[in-house]
């Protein structure tokens, strides 16, 4: 076991209601690294994100996932979050009546409590918010509204990355953060993510399209098809995929079979 890695997935099998979706994923992410997982629709990308974050309803049938040396799969979702695992949602959830600032402050203080740090009071928290919100070019008024309520699609995605900036996770999993974004929003979101890159931290960027990887440049690219990582390479693999499509890999796989 590589104890210096942040995330170490070995032969992970998972499914929903008896249907196998992930069929043996192995993936190791080290500190400071940015990994991209790409794949066509239905390949298991979002399942991978959900299983890592601990969403209910998925059965883990084989394999293991270790996060900072501990067994990730036995932790509750909130324990994973408090240990520094962050998921930027593909579809951020609206919570009517719950003020965004209050929500994020509660989240941050839960995480700080877990790490034995003092909780931030309203003034300290506001200072942090003002600093981080600039990264995402977000309107401060959004923070006075209920969580994600009345936000545009782009605002929701930017809000996810803003939350990531405030919570400062060790491992950030970005689930199709580019979907539904226009080119300007994509640039802002990507710049935000890039600024959060740090030596001790890692990012797992899940996407269908290569275009996100023009902005967030990965160290490694993995291609996910039918629940397996069928190819891994450097950032040039993404460009190749963009050019030749996923069919190219499926054809090669069929030939090899």
């Amino acid at each position: 076991m590589n104890t210096t890695s942040i995330l170490d997935i070995k032969n992970l099998h998972a499914g929903v209601a008896g249907k196998a979706i992930l069929k043996g994923i192995s993936l190791t992410i080290g500190p400071g690294e940015v990994h991209a997982v790409m794949g066509p629709n239905g390949s298991g990308k979002s399942t991978l994100a959900a299983v890592l974050a601990g969403r209910e309803g998925y059965d883990i049938t084989a394999g293991e996932a270790r996060y900072l040396g501990q067994d990730l799969l036995e932790l509750d979702p909130e324990e994973r979050a408090r240990a520094g695992l962050f998921l930027a949602f593909q579809y951020p959830v609206e919570i009517p009546g719950v003020n965004s600032t209050y929500f994020l402050k509660s989240a941050l203080n839960e995480q700080r409590k877990h790490r034995g740090l003092p909780e931030l009071d309203a003034i300290e928290f506001l200072k942090l918010v003002k600093e981080k919100i600039k990264l995402l070019d977000l309107n401060e008024d959004l923070l006075k509204r209920a969580v994600n309520v009345g936000f545009s699609g782009g605002e929701k995605k930017r809000n996810e990355i803003f939350q990531m900036a405030v919570l400062d996770p060790t491992l950030a999993v970005l689930d199709e953060t580019d979907s539904g974004l226009d080119i300007d929003a994509l640039r802002v979101v990507s710049e935000g993510v890039n600024k959060l890159k740090a030596p001790g931290k890692a990012q797992l960027v899940i996407t269908h399209y290569q275009r996100l990887l023009n902005h967030i440049v990965p160290d490694y690219v993995h291609v996910l098809m039918e629940g397996r990582i069928v190819r891994s390479g450097g950032k040039e693999l993404a460009l190749e995929l963009e050019e030749r499509g996923y069919d190219w890999i499926s054809r090669e796989l069929q030939l090899a079979a």
Binding site: E56, D76, E78, I95, G97
Partner: protein
Amino acid sequence: MSTALSTIEEFVNTEYKYGFVSDIESDTFPPGLNEDVVRAISAKKQEPEFLCEWRLRAYRHWLTMTEPKWPKAYYPPIDYQGISYYAAPKPKAQLASLDEVDPELRRTFEKLGISLDEQKRLAGVAVDAVMDSVSVATTFQKDLEKHGVIFCSFSEAVRKHPELVEKYLGSVVPLTDNYFAALNSAVFSDGSFCYVPKGVRCPMELSTYFRINAKNTGQFERTLIIAEEGAYVSYLEGCTAPMRDENQLHAAVVELVALDNAEIKYSTVQNWYPGDAHGRGGIYNFVTKRGVCKGRRSKISWTQVETGSAITWKYPSCILLGEDSVGEFYSVALTNHYQQADTGTKMIHVGKNTRSTIVSKGISAGHGQNSYRGLVAIRKSATGARNFSQCDSLLIGQQCGAHTFPYIEVKNTSAQIEHEATTSKIGEDQIFYCNQRGISKQDAVNMIVNGFCKEVFKELPMEFAVEAQKLLGVSLEGSVG
């Protein structure tokens, strides 16, 4: 790691923390109801002739009525002859001061967080405590008297201010009004009375704490609040009861009268024993609450947070007679386990340019059934009347229900009426989203529920808003694991 469904089922394991029984000797009538019982209650309270007669008229009318069947609530028939209609903690001798209150009784109220003497000194809230059917102590009376405010038990008001009682009793809720109001009029044993004279702004919050203790008894209290011209009063009632296997009947009547430019703010935090996780026991809370805005520019505002009772049947209402008068209703009703609530309001617009606001928040969990039932009536005379209604329902889990029955009757074409309604579920998605940010399931549910109720909580006096939030938290405890 538990699944969302099983965590929601854990809801059922909530403990009711006020379910203790106090060992207090009580003076209780044997079960049963007839004219002699009505006379005996009146005699026990040394009431004047007019009141005894009034009770008897109510009783005779009640005999001709049948129990309403229209509420969306199901329960076995109530045996009205199986209930004791009078229970009073002994000793019932007149108390000269709080020090004479039975120590066990004081401990009871202390357990409930109502320390009569502490409260008296610290909180600046005047409290009238009603145990079973009798008022046991009223604090701050002397201070209030300086301002001319009368705040006392109903019995004391009958003795000391019979002219006010005779003038206003039944003036808002007539003894013929409905089945439970008629029953209450016949057998009510005590309650609170408040009179705020012309131009006086009541200097402190007034509060009544109702506690049912004795077994097999009904609680029938009567509250009457009168705000004279330009007066203001804010009044809060709280209610709890021990855990018992059988159902107990609570049928109260509250009447409010606001004259010119007067304002009455009436807040309720109701936490009667709701029954156990299987729907055994609990209070039947069949209550008639109504206020009349008699004067011009008068205002009556009802705020209620209802988390208790097996069945709740109540519609705090406003009759807007005076021109430019205002009626408000803010409600949070929570049903969990097998609780049923059929609650809402009636806003009757009679005067010109009268305005009303209704904000109702229903939360259903477990097998709870929550119904909003409301009437907005604009009479022919009510030119320029306006109403805004908002009814929101929140569902937690798969087995609960939310229902809305809004009635609107408009007889004047200049009226403006708005009605908004939403139904939402606390979704697994929302809980997971909170979890993923580090917030526990329980905190997530509390956060979502409190967010849902925010508009109502902000209408409560501050210290009670905090209490109400905590109460919702307790009632939802164990809802998710």
